[in-house]
C-alpha cells in the first residue's frame, strides 16, 4: 500500500512543482514506484518541469469524469523504466472540475499500485488546496526564507492541522548561505523556531534549477548539482532514512575564497 504526500505552500513561486519533480525523480532513482499527480488544474506545470509536455493525451479531469481509464492517462517517464509516472492536470478547466471525494478515490486507486503518490498542490487556500490535500496521508510544506513565504506556510500548517493531516514536515527552499552568514536571511533554526514543525530538508539556491527547468530534466538527475544532492537526501528522509543535513556551503578552493573576500563573484 502506497503513501500519498501532498507538496504544498500557500504562497506561489516558492518551489512546490520543482520539489514534486525532484522528489519524484529521486524516489524513482531509488527504485520506488512513483506517480506525480499535478493538482494545479488550469495552471499545470509539472509536465514541463519534467519535460513530458508533448506526451499528454488525457488528464486528471478526463479520469475523474470517466472519459478514460486511469491507466490511459498515466504518462510513463521513459528515463526511469517502470518507476515514474505523471498524471497531468487539465489545462482548460478550473479547480472546481474535481471534488475532494473524487481526489480521494483517485489517490486510493493509485495507492494500490504505487509506493508514493506526490500531489503538486496549487497555491492558495481555496478549493484547489482542499482537493489536493483530501487524499493525502502526509504533507510537505515548502517555504523560502522570506517573511511572506513563512507567514503563508504558518497559515497552511494551521489548515493542515485542522484537517487532521498525518505528518506535516517543512522543506526550506532557496536558502542563500552567504546571506545567512551575514545575517541578512533567516536561517534554518529561525524558521523552525517560528513555525514549530519538523524539518524534512533544506535546498540551497542553485542556478542549476533554472537550467534544469529549461531542459525539462530535474536536477536530482545531476550528480554534481547541490540542489540535486539536497533533493536526493530529502527523498531518502521521506522513506524513513536518517540523513544528516548537508553543509550549506560547498568547500571552497583558496582562489574562490580570496575572490569572495575581495568582493568578486557572489
Amino acid at each position: 500500500m502506497g503513501e500519498v504526500i501532498v507538496i504544498t505552500s500557500g504562497k506561489g513561486g516558492v518551489g512546490k512543482t520543482t520539489t514534486a519533480a525532484n522528489l519524484g525523480t529521486a524516489l524513482a532513482l531509488n527504485e520506488h514506484r512513483v506517480v506525480l499527480l499535478d493538482a494545479d488544474i488550469g495552471l499545470r506545470n509539472l509536465d514541463v518541469v519534467m519535460g513530458l509536455e508533448n506526451r499528454i493525451v488525457y488528464d486528471l479531469v478526463d479520469v475523474t469524469a470517466k472519459v478514460c481509464r486511469l491507466k490511459q492517462a498515466l504518462i510513463r517517464d521513459k528515463r526511469f523504466n517502470e518507476h515514474l509516472f505523471l498524471l497531468p492536470a487539465a489545462q482548460t478547466r478550473d479547480k472546481t472540475a474535481v471534488t475532494p471525494e473524487e481526489m480521494k478515490d483517485l489517490t486510493e486507486e493509485l495507492k494500490a499500485e504505487f509506493d508514493f503518490i506526490l500531489v503538486d498542490c496549487p497555491a492558495g487556500i481555496e478549493q484547489g488546496f482542499r482537493n489536493a490535500i483530501s487524499g493525502a496521508d502526509r504533507a510537505i510544506v515548502v517555504t523560502t526564507p522570506e517573511v511572506s513565504a513563512v507567514r503563508d506556510a504558518d497559515r497552511i500548517i494551521g489548515l493542515l492541522e485542522a484537517s487532521e493531516m498525518g505528518e506535516v514536515q517543512l522543506l526550506i527552499n532557496r536558502i542563500r548561505p552567504r546571506m545567512v552568514k551575514r545575517g541578512d536571511m533567516m536561517d534554518i533554526d529561525d524558521i523552525i523556531d517560528i513555525l514549530a514543525v519538523d524539518l524534512v530538508g533544506v535546498v540551497p539556491e542553485d542556478d542549476c534549477i533554472v537550467v534544469a527547468t529549461n531542459r525539462g530534466e530535474p536536477t536530482a538527475l545531476d550528480s554534481t548539482s547541490r540542489s540535486g544532492q539536497a533533493f536526493r537526501n530529502i527523498a531518502r528522509r521521506v522513506t524513513g532514512e536518517q540523513v544528516p543535513l548537508m553543509p550549506l556551503e560547498a568547500e571552497e578552493g583558496l582562489i574562490a575564497r580570496v575572490r569572495h573576500l575581495l568582493g568578486f563573484g557572489s
Partner: protein, 91 residues
C-alpha cells in the same frame, strides 16, 4: 567589499534577519488570533463553567473576544457578576 568595511567599522544597522523575525513574530500573533466564532463560543462556555463555581454570573451578558493591539493580542472576557457565593472554596 562593503561587507568587510561594514564589519571593520561596525554596522549601525541590525542584521535584517532580526527585523524579519520580529515582524514575523508580530504578524503571526495576529494571524493566529483570527479564530472562528465557534472556537470563541467554546472558550466562553468553559470560562462560564469555571467561574460559576465561585460566583453567580449573568451568563447571557458574558462576552468573550479577541482584541488586537499594536504589539500584542489579548483575550478579553467580560463576566457580569450577579451575586458572590458566601462560601468561596478555600485555595
Amino acid at each position: 567589499m562593503l561587507d568587510i568595511l561594514g564589519k571593520v567599522f561596525g554596522r549601525d544597522e541590525a542584521p535584517s534577519k532580526e527585523i524579519a523575525k520580529e515582524r514575523l513574530r508580530l504578524v503571526l500573533v495576529h494571524d493566529r488570533a483570527t479564530v472562528s466564532p465557534q472556537f470563541l463560543e467554546l472558550i466562553k462556555e468553559e470560562v462560564i463553567a469555571v467561574i460559576t463555581e465561585y460566583m453567580e454570573i449573568d451568563t447571557d451578558g458574558v462576552e468573550v473576544s479577541i482584541h488586537s493591539l499594536e504589539r500584542s493580542v489579548a483575550l478579553v472576557a467580560s463576566l457580569p457578576i450577579k451575586r458572590m457565593k458566601r462560601a468561596v472554596k478555600a485555595v
